[in-house]
């Protein structure tokens, strides 16, 4: 049984204005450091309360920098809330930025193993599923060459195939499916809906307002780190489009 529960969760980043600190800088500019390279706080998420239960498919939308990716990382357990509580139950698999979790010097076959193991798959499980993953990715002989030579679309194919093959209970997808070609997007949609028949949770971030209703039935609109709307996907998209004032986004 998978479930996600956020209770007034908030996340505040503390970042430096300039590049990362070095020891040299620390010694030389010690006295003026605060003035030249101040820490400042970014409130990525504020007061997010949310319950997602078995079988729900949630599409997250919002403008750039509204906290969508941060929310997914919070759900994946990569970030921990700096205030409030987050409880995630179930085996999580995630597809974030493209190059994430690729060992660039290793072949596609090896990367299937690394990604599988990273998400908690057993040695035996990988052996059983590797050929199926390879087939679904459609990469063929490209699997023999290092991931360094892969295009964005090829990485998505491989990452998606692995992430869905390990039978996650919660799948988090951040805006990456768009990089795959049309044929693969169709396959991916097909597989996602198959997965959903087994009562699992999908949370997907996308700016493609045409794709979201096909994948999800629930929408979540984030605005400046807060939940602006939460409800049926069509309503949330309508409200979002209305507020942004660009109906063209739907037609596109």
């Amino acid at each position: 049984m998978a479930s996600i529960e956020l209770d007034r969760a908030g996340l505040t980043f503390r970042v430096r204005q300039q590049h990362q600190l070095t020891f040299k800088e620390y010694l030389l500019k010690g006295m003026f450091r605060q003035a030249r390279n101040p820490l400042f706080e970014v409130r990525a998420l504020q007061d997010v309360s949310l319950r997602i239960g078995d079988g729900e498919r949630v599409g997250v939308l919002g403008s750039n920098g509204s906290g969508k990716s941060t929310l997914l990382r919070l759900l994946a357990g990569v970030y921990h809330p700096t205030s409030g509580r987050s409880t995630v139950e179930g085996k999580v698999s995630s597809l974030f930025e493209l190059a994430l979790g690729f060992e660039m010097e290793a072949s596609g076959w090896k990367n299937i193993r690394f990604r599988g193991y990273l998400q908690g798959e057993s040695r035996e499980g990988i052996r059983r599923k590797a050929s199926e993953i390879a087939e679904f990715s459609g990469l063929g002989d490209f699997l023999k060459i290092p991931a360094r030579y892969y295009s964005a679309g090829m990485m998505v194919r491989l990452a998606f195939s692995t992430a869905t093959a390990i039978e996650p209970e919660i799948l988090l997808v951040d805006e990456v499916l768009g990089a795959g070609d049309l044929a693969f997007q169709q396959k991916a949609k097909q597989r996602l809906s198959e997965m959903m028949e087994q009562a699992r949770i999908l949370v997907v971030v996308s700016h493609d307002l045409k794709v979201l209703p096909q994948l999800c039935e629930r929408g979540l609109w984030l605005d400046k780190g807060r939940v602006r709307a939460d409800g049926p996907i069509a309503d949330v998209i309508a409200a979002y489009v209305d507020q942004v004032g660009q109906p063209a986004a739907v037609a596109a």
Binding site: Q20, K110, L118
Partner: protein, 260 residues
């Protein structure tokens, strides 16, 4: 603490496969493979050996195994400190994707260094036997114990070096300089007894890395157990660094991702 180690063990498939991959990358595509990577300490030993033999008239049979063993130990220690600096930064991809116990990434670094070290230990054994005959075989029990301590110390050091490097990104650069100096302040290319100066002697006796070199060299090259003082110092230093590593892991586990 125990639960943490269990969690590290549970994702062993992940880090073991990465270690294997690292080694394949390191040794592949060279005619001599593994041998190629041993060329560096071997060449160093021969050059140093020739020089010391000429200047100090030391017997080459005693000198070469001593030098090679010291260099091999030193290579392991420096790679724990220097490569350790990169252990989290290199793993940023994984850390941003999945919440594994952080100690996994330094473990990948230190295991790579350890395997390389063990291969070099075989070379030391062969060289020692070739030069001195089999009359003085390595003291196996002390050697195994020493290797275990070496491994734990290396792991703790990579964990700490990784954290320090996240706070100050030029740590590796500074450490390279420090280790350049430390190399001459550790009895690697000379015996401790040769140093008669009080001040330098004091530094040598308080060099925290010196016991670790002796810990391996005594059983491996001289065929005797290391002195209790040496063993005690190595264990104590390992405990202190291990404790510091455990505390900083507990403190940093949830924070590191923000500073990468």
């Amino acid at each position: 603490m125990w639960a943490y180690l269990v969690a590290v063990w549970q994702c062993r498939n992940f880090w073991l496969s990465l270690v294997v991959n690292d080694l394949q990358l390191r040794y592949r595509r060279s005619v001599l493979g593994v041998g190629w990577s041993l060329l560096h300490p071997l060449a160093w030993t021969l050059v140093m050996g020739a020089v010391f033999h000429e200047i100090f008239k030391q017997p080459i049979r005693e000198l070469l195994p001593y030098l090679l063993c010291g260099l091999v130990c030193w290579t392991y220690l420096t790679s724990a400190f220097l490569q350790g600096c990169q252990s989290y930064i290199q793993a940023e991809n994984y850390i941003r994707q999945h919440p594994l116990p952080l100690a996994v990434y330094p473990l990948r670094t230190v295991l790579g260094a350890m395997i390389h070290f063990l291969i070099a230990v075989v070379l030391v054994i062969v060289l020692t036997a070739a030069l001195r005959g089999v009359g003085r075989p390595p003291e196996v029990f002390s050697l195994l114990l020493g290797i275990c301590i070496f491994f734990l110390f290396g792991w703790a050091v990579t964990i700490l070096a990784g954290f320090v490097n996240i706070a100050f990104r030029d740590t590796q650069h500074i450490m390279e300089v420090v280790f350049q100096i430390l190399f001459y302040l550790t009895p690697i290319i000379y015996h401790r007894e040769y140093i008669t100066s009080r001040y330098v002697g004091w530094v040598l006796d308080h060099n925290p890395l010196a016991p670790f070199v002796d810990l391996i060299r005594e059983p491996l090259v001289e065929g005797r157990a290391p002195s209790l003082a040496c063993l005690g110092a190595a264990v104590a230093i390992t405990l202190v660094t291990g404790l510091a590593a455990a505390i900083s892991l507990g403190y940093q586990q949830r924070r590191v991702v923000f500073y990468l």
